[in-house]
């Protein structure tokens, strides 16, 4: 890396940290420290919410995802706008009316203290471990690719975040996120235009899209009902809505962002802003990845972008075999390049049959490339096994950063690294801020026998921020010692999210359900989900078998189960129609569980019908409460 890159990288990050700390110094009251003085305008909230969700992995991994699998990943976000509208209509007015500091505070108001404490603890477990991984995930990639010391990088990212988050609280997080988003957008736009500029003469943006299309990278929408495919329009709309609803509606790291809004109107507009921009933003990041793919149609690329994997195989007995695969890959790439040129130059002057032939040829060569990539991966895996080492053979996280480091001009490399580290810092800051607020308010202050002054609460919150920050750094530093830790932490989120969302949905839509019922249901659900995960997913994966369901389905199962058990326990209070619906719901759930274990298949229609039935139940319950109260 050149001196100018270091200067831009360090200058950008330090400016943000110093400005954020200076601008928000001397916070003394809780309102200022934990709700940012309720000064945030809608666009600040919108940017803050987006910056919290977009972690470094978004910018490292998403372009790589598009490079390999095309743009289908954008469908994952289709549920987000629906979730935004539901949160604006249902969640926000209640949070605003009760003037809560945390989402879990609302649950005490609606149910009881033990439900609030339980959900806070569930949040602290998964977000606390998640904060470490938010630092570790980009640090490990940058340490491999730039040969930086991993521990040093973890500590630097962590300390920079702790400085301004502990000092200025929510306001510092919001202020810095605006600048971080500015850096991120500037960097990504410049990267995009540089890629287009670097395409060979005669290849313009339209041609680039055509080349991507011929290579099946423009398959944005998938309407198939298959559950085997992770990203379809249906999984995005159904699974996505559930996931985004739990993330934006009940996760304090997001809730705290919009609670800092000036008024209900600003909060709503902030979320609407997110609902309008998120899909185009993800589309754009994926498009950058597709353009990187087009760039590598005309330029040589390694067969595997992970430098650690390359190094490992180069030092093994398989080096010659690997070199042969790389040579063959280069030869195929060269042939493909000629065919792509031919296609671009001749497509308008040849018959459709000839055009189809060229397309088929390109696709065939692409398939050969993929096969060779698979062979290379197998060889890397074999080399790793021979040496008793672990290595990530999936190189999607390394594609974009490889492009940046090898093709962007001096100065821009520093800017793009600032983009990645800014994204890591913005997410971590929101997480530490939320972890500290939840610990300070939901656990410490609520259970403290002493009457704490505002200044004391702020002081305690600051210390909790430092404590969670140090814990996150420690997790990031030891993460390397455990296999598949990133995967595990991602899974941990799914173990708790469904249950917590279910509790909130019960609070909003099932007026008659009381605290005790919810608490018991939540504890049973959590135990069930943990056992289900252990036996139906974890053990099978450890044995090298296919898990019964993808862990993402745990969100859905947890949510439905907690609602279901709460309803069962309030059965006596319900009318005939509700009982009937509950009976059908039980039959449906039994069928889903049976299908999972027997045929290893879950039917989308069945799941849809369960959702529909739960909605009917909620509606009936609400209707009855309204009639009774009037």
């Amino acid at each position: 890396m050149a001196a100018i890159d270091w200067l831009i990288l360090a200058g950008t990050l330090m400016t943000i940290v110093i400005y954020g700390t200076w601008k928000t110094r001397g916070m003394k009251n809780v309102q200022d420290y934990l709700r940012g003085g309720n000064e945030a305008k809608w666009w600040t909230i919108g940017l803050s919410v987006m910056a919290t969700q977009a972690s470094a992995i978004t910018f490292l991994s998403t372009p790589g995802q598009a490079f390999h699998d095309g743009m289908g990943f954008v469908q994952f976000y289709f549920g987000l706008p629906i979730a935004m509208v539901i949160i604006c209509v249902v969640f926000l007015p209640l949070y605003d009316r009760l003037k809560v500091f945390t989402a879990y505070e609302f649950l005490e108001n609606r149910f009881d203290l033990k439900t609030r404490t339980l959900t806070s603890i569930l949040f602290l477990i998964h977000r606390g471990s998640g904060a470490g991984i938010t630092i570790y995930a980009p640090a490990i990639i940058l340490s491999y690719i730039l040969d930086w010391d991993l521990t040093f990088l973890n500590i630097v990212i962590g300390i920079l975040v702790i400085i301004y988050t502990a000092s200025g609280g929510t306001k510092a997080v919001t202020v810095t996120q605006k600048q971080q988003m500015a850096v991120i957008f500037t960097g990504m736009f410049i990267a995009f235009f540089v890629i287009i500029f670097k395409l060979p003469d005669g290849i313009n943006f339209k041609n680039a899209l055509e080349i991507a299309g011929v290579n099946n990278k423009m398959n944005i929408l998938d309407f198939s009902f298959s559950l085997d495919k992770r990203y379809t329009i249906w999984s995005g709309l159904i699974g996505g809505t559930f996931l985004m609803l739990s993330y934006f509606g009940t996760d304090q790291s997001q809730v705290q962002r919009y609670l800092s809004g000036q008024s209900l109107k600003e909060m709503r507009l902030g979320l609407i802003f997110n609902g309008l921009l998120k899909v185009p933003m993800q589309f754009f990041i994926l498009l950058v990845g597709v353009m990187v793919f087009v760039f590598y149609q005309f330029n040589a690329s390694p067969i595997n972008f992970n430098p650690q994997a390359q190094e490992l195989v180069m030092q093994s007995n398989n080096v010659e075999a690997y070199q042969r695969i790389q040579d063959e890959y280069n030869q195929i790439s060269e042939e493909k390049k000629e065919t792509v040129y031919k296609y671009v130059n001749e497509k308008d002057h040849i018959s459709s049959r000839e055009r189809n032939e060229l397309t088929s040829q390109i696709q065939f060569l692409g398939a050969v490339q993929n096969k060779l990539r698979g062979d290379a991966k197998a060889l890397i895996q074999k080399s790793a096994s021979d040496k008793n080492e672990k290595v990530e053979t999936n190189d999607k996280d390394y594609v974009f950063i490889h492009f940046v480091l090898n093709n962007l001009p001096k100065g821009l490399i520093g800017l793009l690294l600032a983009v990645i580290l800014s994204a890591a810092m913005s997410s971590t800051a929101s997480e530490l801020n939320a972890l500290s607020s939840t610990t300070a308010l939901d656990l410490y202050k609520r259970n403290s026998k002493k009457d704490l002054s505002e200044e004391q609460v702020v002081k305690i919150s600051k210390w909790f921020t430092v404590l969670w920050g140090v814990l996150a750094i420690l997790i990031a530093c030891i993460a390397n010692l455990f296999d598949n830790l990133i995967q595990l932490v991602n899974t941990i989120g799914s173990l708790f999210y469904g249950n917590v969302l279910g509790i909130f949905l019960l609070a909003f839509f099932f007026k008659k359900i009381r605290g005790n019922q919810v608490f018991v249901a939540a504890v049973i659900t959590q135990v069930f989900i943990l056992l289900f995960y252990y036996f139906a997913i974890f053990q099978l994966e450890q044995a090298g078998e296919q898990p019964l369901v993808s862990y993402l389905w745990l969100n859905f199962i947890g949510c439905i189960l907690v609602i279901f058990i709460s309803l069962i326990s309030s059965l006596r209070d319900m009318d005939f129609m509700s009982n009937l619906t509950l009976l059908i719901l039980t039959a449906n759930l039994a069928k889903v569980v049976y299908d999972i274990f027997q045929t290893r298949n879950t039917h989308l229609l069945l799941i849809l019908s369960i959702i529909l039935l739960v909605i009917v139940l909620g509606w009936l319950d609400n209707l009855k409460s309204q009639t009774e109260s009037s």
């Binding site: 706008p81 055509e210 944005i220 929408l221 609407i272 185009p280 589309f283």
Partner: protein
């Protein structure tokens, strides 16, 4: 009575968000079929 127009306004804004996203999907569909 005073709240009615405000509610209407919000409904329109929510409809706009959903509509915008439907338009994105349509645009993706067109893009997918053009390239």
């Amino acid at each position: 009575m005073n709240q009615q127009p405000t509610k209407d306004k919000w409904s329109r804004i929510y409809a706009l968000v959903i509509l915008a996203n439907i338009l994105y999907v349509l645009l993706f569909y067109l893009l997918m079929n053009s390239f």
